[in-house]
Amino acid sequence: MKILVCISHVPDTTSKINFTEGDTKFDTNGVQFVINPNDEFGLTRAMWFKEKQGANVTVVNVGGPETEPTLRKALAIGADEAIRVNAEATDGAFVAKQLAKVAQDGGYDLIIAGRESIDYNGGMVPGMLATLTDANFVNTCIGLEVEGNEATAVREIDGGKETIQTSLPLVIGGQKGLVEESDLRIPNMRGIMMARKKQLTIVEPADASNETKAVKFEKPAPKGAVKLVSPDNLDELVSLLHNEAKVI
């Protein structure tokens, strides 16, 4: 089985978020980047297929040279090879078309993407990618088994789970549940040493245009001051909620 894992290069969840150029561009200054957590759950599941079923795992990212450390980390964790599509990733349709080209050229059986990246939260790429590659698609995937050409996927649905039988080729939009946080792998020294020798191929982007453009980013309004009311003074609390907060 040939697996393609799509890796987004995203700011660490603890990063301080700011925007530049008139609130049109994310300020990367001083920001640490990591593998998108939804993708990391998928990558870890792919490692399981590699170790238990002999799958071959390629990781792919659409981005500039600054995203290569993220791909190297995926190689150190155990992916067999990496591909970087040399283009800035700002539009879901554009990214999906680039990934589709890589997927078609490589003839992958299973494509694991994250349900969404945790930076812009577009959530568009996995579905578009399935359409463009004419593959089956399971989104919000929290469990995946593959036997021969058959796949059993578990989806998270509102308040429960849905188990789906489908076949390869398959694209999944994965998330936590594919594996648990405690299963995520820390690159060990052997992996880091082996990653030095693994192939990281840079390909130029396929002809495609951006269909959307961010014109403005806004941060949430800062939290207001907190007023503490003594538990003995319920009248004051009711009065504040009624007259000041105007919620009752």
């Binding site: 603890t14 001083g30 290569e68 450390p69 190297r72 980390k73 150190a76 820390i186 690159p187 060990n188 020294m189 052997r190 880091i192 040493m193 990653a195 030095r196």
Partner: protein, 392 residues
């Protein structure tokens, strides 16, 4: 203990001086410490027990001999990678870092540098994987800053050496499988010998009731007519310069390690100061706390640059022992001062095991004394710049 919320400070974008591989190695060690060390270390320190379940993990992240060539089981990494691994481990605990320092610089390093090919092949892969743990015997009860005065000695008995003497303050001694021991031959010249657990007359009693490095096992090495096979002598170098070469490597790692302890204290104090409200505002808004925190980040930044530059010099084979002394001395003092100040920022909370600060603070009392005391390192700098040795 509180969850480990550590975020590493990098005020001068020192990360830009590092390669992608340095950062990968560093971040893997950082992630491992968060997952495997932080949740358990306070408990082990309180109980004065070494957490031996982390030995496998230390080996996996490359903490045992990262710069030892791959053919001997090492990772073949550079000196800055070694430093960064030590920094991250000591961010967790100086005792755990001590175990890794000893294994790497005081056991694997002399076997690699001064050992025979047979010795390298026999010991290094097992030490790199953690299958063997090692310790280093130089200090004696009556010879600390003056190791050249040692009385531990060995006699040539034809088909073996007969070793007698005692070593004190030996990290890893209670559980070590092998000990690199420095002793005088019949002419008074210092040589290194590899002593293995199980040799008759060799014992390693543990030193109890320490207030510092409580999660690290410390002990004595006692040699009572120990027959050491002749092939266990390290032939590549003799004289005091041989053990001092190992100490250069270990002290270099400590110069980085201390930054980790300081970063953890600073990060904890900064977070606490922003959250702790007194007089209706966070204490971080008061001038005296800002003075403490601003001085901490200034000193950490200076220490980072000192260690980075020393790493470059060491990688190029140009770092002198005196330069290493300066970095070890400066950075450990920096860390212990930050630990004390950070303890005050946390007020009473700073003395509890809920936070790592007091554990770092008492650990650093050992670190400022071992591997060359704070005073001796000053005198090494003094000797280097004046040409006069003031400690003899």
């Amino acid at each position: 203990m509180k969850p480990d919320l550590f975020e590493a400070p990098d005020y001068y974008n020192v990360d830009e001086l590092l390669s992608d591989e340095h950062k990968l190695v560093r971040d893997a060690a950082r992630q491992w410490v968060k997952r495997e060390v932080s949740p358990i270390i306070e408990d082990f320190a309180q109980r004065a027990e070494f957490p031996d379940q982390i030995i496998g993990g230390l080996a996996e992240i490359g903490a045992f001999g990262p710069y030892i060539p791959v053919e001997y089981g090492g990772a073949g990494l550079d000196q800055i990678s070694y430093g960064l691994i030590m920094q991250e481990i000591e961010r967790g605990d100086s005792g755990v870092r001590s175990t890794a320092s000893v294994q790497s610089s005081l056991v694997m390093y002399p076997i690699w540098k001064y050992g025979t090919e047979e010795q390298r092949k026999k010991y290094l892969p097992k030490l790199a994987s953690g299958e063997f743990m090692g310790c280093f015997g130089l200090t004696e009860p009556d010879h600390g800053s003056n190791p050249g005065g040692m009385v531990t000695n060995f006699k040539d008995k034809g088909d073996h050496y007969l070793l007698n003497g005692a070593k004190l303050w030996i990290s890893n001694a209670p559980f070590a499988d092998v000990a690199v021991v420095w002793a005088k031959d019949e002419s008074g010249r210092i040589h290194g010998l590899i002593v293995e657990r199980g040799m008759e007359g060799f014992s390693t009693p543990e030193t109890h009731n320490k207030w510092s490095l409580r999660a690290s096992a410390t002990g004595e090495l006692i040699f009572d007519n120990v027959k050491v096979p002749k092939e266990n002598l390290l032939p590549g170098k003799s004289g005091l310069g041989a053990p001092l070469g190992c100490l250069d490597s270990a002290r270099y790692g400590i110069a980085w390690g201390a930054i980790g302890a300081a970063m953890d204290c600073y990060d904890t104090a900064l977070r606490y100061a922003k959250e702790r409200i007194q007089f209706d505002k966070p204490i971080a808004a008061t001038q005296l706390q800002q003075k403490k925190l601003a001085e901490m980040i200034t000193e950490i930044t200076k220490a980072q640059l000192l260690a980075w530059r020393l790493g470059v010099l060491r990688e190029e084979g140009r770092a002198t022992s005196a330069q290493i002394s300066m970095a070890k001395r400066n950075n450990v003092e920096m860390a212990i001062k930050i630990a004390r100040e950070a303890r005050q920022v946390l007020g009473g909370m700073g003395i509890t095991g809920e936070y790592s600060i007091m554990r770092h603070m008492v650990n650093l009392e050992s670190v400022i004394t071992y591997e060359g005391t704070h005073d001796i390192h000053l005198l090494i700098t003094g000797m280097d710049i004046t040409g006069h040795a003031a400690f003899k």
